[in-house]
Amino acid sequence: MAKLQVRGARKAYGATIALKRGDMVLESGEVHVLIGSNGSGKSTLCKIISGSVRPDAGEVIIDGRPVTVTGPQMARELGIGIFYQELSLAAHRTVAENISLARLPANAGVFVDHAAVGATAERYMAPFADVLGDGFAADTPVVKLRADQRQLVEIMKTLATEAPVLIFDEPTSALDSAQVERFFDVLRKLRGEGRSIIFISHRMDEIFAIGDRVTIMRDGETVTTMALSDADHDMVIRAMVGGQEALIATGNADDEGTRRTGKTILSVQNISGPGFSEISFSVAAGEIVGFGGLHGQGQSSVLRALFGASRRQAGTITLNGTPYTATAPRAAIRQGMAYISGDRGHDGVITDRPILENVTPVHFLRNRLTFAFPGRLRAAVLPALQALRTKYATLSHPISSLSGGNQQKIVIARWLTDPPQVLLLDDPTKGIDLATKTELFALIRELAEKGMAIILYSSEDSELLTNADRILVFSGGAIARELTGADRTRYNLYHAAYEAA
């Protein structure tokens, strides 16, 4: 008998149908992958199972018994633990408190048992002990942690439910490969114990590395379920995209590394700042420079400093031969910088506002506009939106009506409406599906060819390898190695990152 079964789950938000017909069967002792393009309803399906979304129709069956999951509390009682794509941490509480939050151990039923809280934390931190990174301790407030460390806390929190059914909705999007490996070790162990695990990721290699079976979703519907041992990348992708031609990430970086012919646009000399020091490099017109390495080695900090979003203490930067001194995003944007962050909730999306208003802010600044006439604005933003194949009903719908991936496309369109000179990409594809990624990188390459200078930081190695003309491998806030031409191999990338670390 299946451990958990969902039949005909359906959810609509106003006119948007998030989930048309969600079906899946989860067996005991399997890692069941859920895959589908952005907005295909994966998160919605998971949230229905975990009680935080109320379905319009459908049933959830656990151990053969139909249940009504009335909320997250009820889900816990039914033995369901979930990792939320957008995380569910209390920022000012400690790691330990977060791990035990839902069921704080108590003395006399009233007073928090701090010893037990600490012990629980240590237990779940143990498997990750060597990949936790700096500043991670049981009594560290979550607010002080980096994005990957927070994801680890959310993982531990999910594991601490000790639930028979565990759902992981994109748990690895901010993790580096070592962290992912540790996590997978834990999953394998849990699978061995007979637990049932739902795992969502947009990374094909991860899916094949850990999954037993895969359920593929498209446009809010379950398409099929297959055993991963019988499948290959191509089959999965074909199922995801349906009738359309399968799109596989194709490398379009120049294999010879000879593209550095354009004149230097951005030149950075010896800049230092919080999290990095003595960084020097330059980017030529038409070039995509990759930032690689383990997480939190200063890649994002450098990008943010270049964008004027964080402080920078020493060194010089020249942009097109003239000194560049922007100390705020405004000045940076005016001088032709663009910064696309993967952390859309924090850096990107203007929640509750219409799609149009989410695209226009940079356009306003670049064109020094005073008045906002919708007709003209629509005309200005459409090309970028179309180039990204963004899915939306109308431009006046709130951006929250879109799936995570489409929201990210809106944010990207914001920066491409008026093409910048330098494009800073800070893990821009976090949560974007494969097809879109491919389109996005094709577009980025096109922009480069038109003479833009581009810096790409990605937490996905394959993304760097296939798209960057050169890769600067970061370690401990400095550039450890530069990979060019034929040196750009996965082996070299790992080698540089781990050797230096």
């Binding site: 109320r54 405004r330 906002a372 009903a393």
Partner: protein
């Protein structure tokens, strides 16, 4: 659905639904209901003349609420509790400058708007540069303004409203409506244009909705927020001048009664205190709604305890039409 082919059917259905949910529609319906109730309770309540007088009172509140509305829209728990103090100060300063003479009106307006703007600037600086929460900053500023009023009243004799100002507020001006109603309509139009058709307006919503993302997209967040507080101070100052016209003389603490009602008017107009959405047209309706409610309660002959209980309970019931937050369960 792609950008090229917007879904016609869906949009139509959605906008019909949106229309019913428009706070302003709710407010207008409630206003109509209250007027009927008022007329039933005390005949004569809904006469044209009385409605006009209520509108004058609503305009005073509405002008204060315009600034309050902007500050609230700007988010980050934006709120301006100092408006009451600015209204009082403005009324006193204006009374002294014009001192019953029409020639003083223009200087009085200039001086008061400058003073209002100055206090708004200080609020804005406190909130942005020193990062004091707006509730506390403006509460502190209210304390300062109350103290300043005592000092100011010591130093200068208080004066009277210029006849032209009193006439503007209380006497028919154009098409039988007093000037203040026209002023309010003008402010309404100004606010609508500001919020919908200017970059400044779009940026208000942007910082109100996600300040950090807005900053990353080049919105001058601090400058914006300071500007909102300045505008709030200016609107409060204008309301203070109008209030002087309404009551003829300036007197202490005249503005205090606007502090919390201005916030309620904004909420009844469909702008949540969390900012980032809503608008001023609704707030205008909210101001009218609140004033009608208060005046119905004055005319019902019950004791004060009963009046307060009914007032508070009615506010709660009315809030159910607007303020309900999103269910945590989607």
């Amino acid at each position: 659905m792609s950008a090229a082919e917007p879904g016609i059917g869906r949009t139509a259905a959605l906008s019909a639904e949106r229309l019913v949910r428009q706070p302003i529609i709710v407010a207008l319906a409630l206003i109509a209901a209250l007027l009927v109730a008022g007329e039933l309770l005390s005949p004569g309540f809904a006469s044209g003349e009385q409605i006009l007088r209520l509108l004058i009172v609503a305009a005073l509140l509405g002008i204060v609420a315009a600034g309050q509305n902007l500050v609230i829209l700007g988010g980050r728990e934006g709120i301006d509790l100092s408006v009451g103090g600015v209204v009082s100060l403005s009324a006193i300063v204006a009374g002294n400058i014009m001192n019953g003479a029409d020639a003083g009106i223009v200087p009085a307006i200039l001086a008061c708007v400058a003073i209002g703007g100055l206090f708004g600037l200080i609020n804005g600086v406190g909130v942005t540069l020193l990062r004091i929460p707006p509730l506390v900053m403006t509460l502190g500023m209210l304390g300062v303004l109350q103290g300043l009023l005592v000092v100011v009243r010591q130093g200068i004799p208080s004066g009277n409203a210029a006849p032209a100002l009193s006439g503007f507020v209380t006497q028919p001006f154009l098409l039988g409506l007093p000037g203040i109603i026209w002023l309010w309509i003008g402010i309404g139009a100004f606010m609508a244009f500001l919020l919908r058709r200017t970059v400044f307006g779009h940026r208000i919503y942007a910082i109100g909705s996600n300040e950090h993302a807005a900053a990353m997209a080049g919105v001058p967040v601090r400058l914006m927020r300071v500007s909102l507080f300045i505008l709030s101070g200016m609107f409060a100052a204008i309301a203070g001048i109008c209030l002087l016209g309404y009551s003829g003389q300036s007197f202490a603490n005249v503005g205090e009664q606007y502090m919390l009602p201005s916030i309620i008017a904004v909420v009844f107009g469909g702008t949540p205190l969390s900012g980032g959405k809503g608008g001023y047209t609704g707030t205008m309706a909210g101001a009218v709604l609140l004033v009608i409610l208060q005046s119905i309660l004055t005319t019902i002959n019950i004791d004060e305890a009963g009046r307060q209980i009914v007032f508070g309970a009615t506010l709660l019931v009315l809030m159910l039409f607007y303020g309900r937050g999103r269910a945590m369960r989607g």
